[in-house]
């Protein structure tokens, strides 16, 4: 039996400990905001927070997440109003939208650790998140806007 804490809620799951966290979230827990894109940590669509760090849930076994705090896009904010979510809506970033949860989760760790990220900081933090629609420019601007919203409190 594995104990998980996902979005501040406790779960006890009887599951193969090698199962990637991604599929536990999606198939077992029913949190589908975390997306499958590549399965080999190359696209970032599955990014979640494990004890505040951005991890690719497609290659993170559920046993590694056991007893730790997992946060998914559904738990990033209570009312969907994290500065990044506000900024994403303000700049209407999304096209197809599929990769955006992963983009936001990667950006959230950056903003937590770096209140005033430079262009280079943003590039470095976001390099692992692919967007085929090509919304990178807006994502970049949205992260800057979110940093501003965050600084203003």
């Amino acid at each position: 039996m594995l104990k998980l804490n996902i979005n501040k809620k406790d779960y006890e799951l009887n599951i193969d400990p090698n199962t990637p966290l991604l599929w536990v979230l999606r198939d077992i827990v029913g949190l589908v905001g975390t997306k499958y894109g590549c399965g080999i940590a190359q696209c970032g669509a599955c990014t979640v927070h494990l004890n505040g760090e951005a991890v690719r849930s497609c290659v993170t076994t559920v046993s590694r997440a056991a007893g730790q705090k997992v946060v998914t896009i559904e738990g990033l904010s209570v009312n969907g109003d994290h500065p990044l979510q506000q900024a994403w809506l303000e700049l209407d970033v999304s096209q197809c939208g599929y990769c955006q949860a992963g983009q936001i989760m990667s950006a959230a760790v950056l903003l937590k650790e770096n209140k005033n990220p430079t262009d280079k900081d943003i590039d470095n933090a976001m390099e692992g998140n692919i967007c085929r629609c090509g919304t990178y420019l807006r994502i970049h601007k949205a992260i800057q806007l979110a940093a501003e919203i965050q600084r203003k409190g």
Partner: protein, 760 residues
């Protein structure tokens, strides 16, 4: 545009009806011939489309619901199409409830996302549906208040009678309006009076996206649903020989393992029934991870399929085509293309006497361009949910054109169309890939076989190695200059696997006295499909690079040369079927020249490349500003000019162009799907290079030509010329012309480099 007084033709009709519980429902119906005539759509449109209908529902408490008919894959139709209705209705956009419509080609029209056609196709019917509803509500109010209808005005879903100071919501007249006959004449708004359109309106699903709500096919869930995966042959040209499922069946959570034949023998395939492998292995189990693990335990033997036959449905009856069995490699494909390029080809267009012109030329410029197969790489891999019994079928997932797959389902499931329900989820990208519904048909057959609801999931590897790629293309361009460096002849001979990309009637056809376009193609077992701006995405790279080189040889500025040719095409066009409007083409070039400060000294630090193209009814021009960064070319800025007529949603349109530019740079620099002995050499993002954050431009400035022309699409048109502009900037940055895509990731072997000696 003047206030339009639209008399709908005898073939179109509007219907209104009372909603259960009161309220008005207005539908606009339009018979299929009228749809086709109005939209100029011909090829690839199945004949079974019926009526076109846009829905507006208004409840007595003034809730207005608009159904979006067309599948959403990121082009923002779920917002832009309802905006059109809301505008004519004079509703309060912020209070409109938008819902994705069901698949119903009778009530909701063609319902296909592709060809940059959504807005163009629905523009007129949606305007008329909104305007008719407004007129009926006004009439209901006039009757109730006993005032002339002319004295009434509307604003934000409310009707006002200024003289008497009365006002009431649309909702309060909705039930009464439903009993009023639909007006014979419909007055749509003057463009200058638009309040909702031509402004920035936010994506109606934006907040669901950023909070991770279930929206996509892969998120679709039904209680008791099983997960299925396929195992397709490891290479194009291979097929299943035998398999042993015993180990896989013994794995936890596994329900069934079997082989599945998609189409029966002799099945007549329509244009969008493309499938690479007709027989697949299928693993069905409880969870995705269990199925993935069990699939690894499959023991399968594969064998060369040899030459096979497909039966294709066609307008002139069915025909058999041979699919060659060769296990192809990129090297052999390039060699084959080179050999074919020297053979006589099909003449596609000829003006004047190109043979003599080339014979008498003072200078001939000849260049050959190559481009590889490309995988779509939609971020959401192919998947579909199916719950199929002997009586009915429910399907849900990402699909660009349900109406193109439903007839196929009907045949292979032996169910009448009315027993098949297809629900369209939001798509995690499409780019043409999801017009081909084989994965939906596979899901349906799997569900019926296991007698349970099933979600079929392709892994990234399944998705990338399955095929339905952008074809592999080549084209040789030749230009003849006279002693005064005038362009006297132009020749393009293009080919590809398995099709060529040549649009014979496009620019510069019409602008050159002596012109020849030819095409040839090589059959292959590697399947292809529409990929964001099909064919144009190659032509705009090759032709626009070539024109840059021709301009250089002529000693002209590349924009000036294009404008001169366009002037010629307008004033004294050669030939009759020139497929572009020279003024609009020139318009985007002039706009991008102005906005980018083309030729201004302050931009000297940039290696600048320009290109323009017309496809899918809209015009695009880009100036790409490249710098060398850490020894690598980097596109720092891009200026874009677009002409797509009226811009429906300004910020979303800008986003679409920014995305197309970024996607274009990525594919031009890195995009490549190669083969070795039939096997795709790239199977995931560690091998298939996609553009990433740090490689996207720092600035993309998008400008739209302001006019009141009926709107055309934006999903595709800005994409193709990015390739040409990037190639031309690369030349400035590196001093070297780039003829082979991808520009920064060259294929192992390239076709022969240009020589200027070949006799005509």
């Amino acid at each position: 545009m003047e206030p339009s007084k639209t008399t709908h033709s005898r073939r179109s009709f509007l219907r209104s009806s009372l909603l259960a519980g009161g309220g008005l429902m207005i539908s606009f119906s339009w018979l299929p011939e009228a749809v086709k005539a109005a939209n100029g759509i011909d090829a690839g449109v199945p004949g079974q489309w019926s009526e076109l209908t846009g829905y507006i529902r208004i409840t007595p408490d003034n809730v207005i619901r608009i159904l979006n008919p067309n599948p959403e894959f990121g082009q923002n139709v779920m917002t832009s199409l309802p905006m059109i209705i809301a505008e004519e209705l004079d509703a309060d956009w912020e209070k409109i409830v938008v819902e994705m419509g069901p698949h119903d080609n009778v009530k909701l029209g063609p319902q296909f996302t592709g060809g940059s056609n959504s807005v163009r196709m629905y523009w007129k019917p949606m305007r008329e549906a909104g305007a008719a509803a407004r007129a009926m509500l006004l009439q209901a109010a006039a009757g109730t208040w006993s005032v002339p209808v002319e004295e009434l005005t509307t604003k934000a879903a409310t009707i006002f009678h200024e003289k008497s100071g009365r006002s009431a919501t649309y909702g309060s007249f909705a039930t009464k309006a439903a009993a009023i006959p639909v007006p014979k004449e419909i007055h749509t708004k003057a463009v200058k009076d638009f309040k909702i359109l031509r402004k920035a309106q936010k994506n109606v699903e934006g907040s669901k996206i950023v909070t991770g709500k279930p929206l996509f096919g892969l998120d679709y869930h039904q209680e008791g649903m099983l997960i299925a995966m396929i195992q397709h042959p490891p290479a194009f040209g291979m097929k299943l020989q035998s398999f042993d499922a015993s180990q896989a069946l013994g794995m936890p959570g596994i329900k069934d393992v079997f082989s599945l034949k998609l189409y029966p023998e002799g099945f007549e395939q329509g244009g969008f029934d493309t499938r690479t492998f007709n027989e697949l292995l299928v693993v069905v189990g409880k969870t995705t991870w269990e199925v993935m693990n069990a699939r690894k335990k499959l023991v399968a033997q594969w064998q060369p399929a040899g030459d096979t036959k497909d039966t294709m449905a066609g307008r002139n009856g069915k025909r058999e085509v041979t699919v060659p069995g060769e296990l192809e490699s990129t090297d052999s494909q390039l060699a084959k293309m080179e050999a074919f390029s020297k053979q006589p080809a099909q003449q596609l267009r000829k003006d004047g006497d190109p043979e003599s012109a080339f014979r008498n030329a003072a200078q001939i410029i000849e260049r050959t361009y190559n481009a590889p197969f490309l995988a779509h790489n939609c971020m959401e891999p192919m998947n579909f949910f199916a719950d199929v019994t002997d009586e009915k079928a429910l399907l849900a997932g990402p699909l660009q054109a349900p109406g193109w797959t439903e007839p196929t389902l009907s045949k292979i499931l032996n169910l009448p169309p009315e027993k098949i329900e297809i629900r369209m989820t939001r798509m995690g990208g499409g780019f043409g890939r999801r017009a081909y519904g084989h994965y939906l048909s596979e899901a349906a057959l799997i569900s019926r076989k296991v007698k349970a609801p099933v979600k079929l999931i392709y892994t990234r590897e399944d998705d990338m190695t399955y095929g339905i790629y952008r074809p592999m293309y080549t084209a040789t361009y030749r230009a003849a200059l006279d002693a005064n460096k005038n362009l006297i002849a132009f020749h393009v001979k293009g080919g590809g696997i398995p099709e060529h990309a040549i649009h014979a009637n496009r620019f510069p056809a019409g602008a050159v006295d002596n012109y020849l376009a030819e095409g040839w193609q090589i059959p292959s077992n590697i399947t292809i499909g529409a990929f964001r701006a099909p064919r144009s995405n190659f032509n705009a790279a090759a032709e626009q690079s070539f024109l840059d080189e021709v301009a250089e040889a002529m000693g002209k500025d590349p924009i000036d040369l294009r404008l001169e040719l366009l002037k010629r095409a307008k004033e004294k066009p050669i030939g009759e079927k020139n497929d572009y409007d020279a003024d609009r083409y020139a318009g985007v070039l002039q706009l991008v020249r102005e906005k980018s400060g083309w030729g201004k000294p302050e931009n000297k630090k940039y290696h600048r490349g320009v290109a323009a193209y017309f496809c899918h009814n809209s015009y695009a021009a880009h100036v790409v500003d490249m710098v060398m960064k850490d020894g690598r070319p980097f596109v720092e800025r891009v200026y874009s000019a677009m002409d797509c007529g009226i811009v429906i949603n300004t910020d979303a349109a800008t986003n679409m162009v920014e995305g197309a530019v970024t996607d274009g740079i990525g594919n031009a620099f890195y995009g490549r799907l190669s083969h070795k002995e039939g096997k795709a050499e790239q199977n995931n993002f560690h091998r298939y290079r996609m553009i990433r954050h740090s490689e996207a431009p720092d600035k993309i400035e998008v400008h739209f030509v302001q006019n009141d022309l009926d709107p055309t699409g934006l999903g595709e048109p800005p994409f193709p010329p990015v390739f040409g502009a990037v190639a031309n900037a690369l030349y400035k940055a590196t001093g070297k012309r780039h003829y082979d895509q991808p520009y920064l990731n060259p294929p192992p072997k390239t076709a022969t480099k240009p020589e200027n000696k070949r006799p005509f």
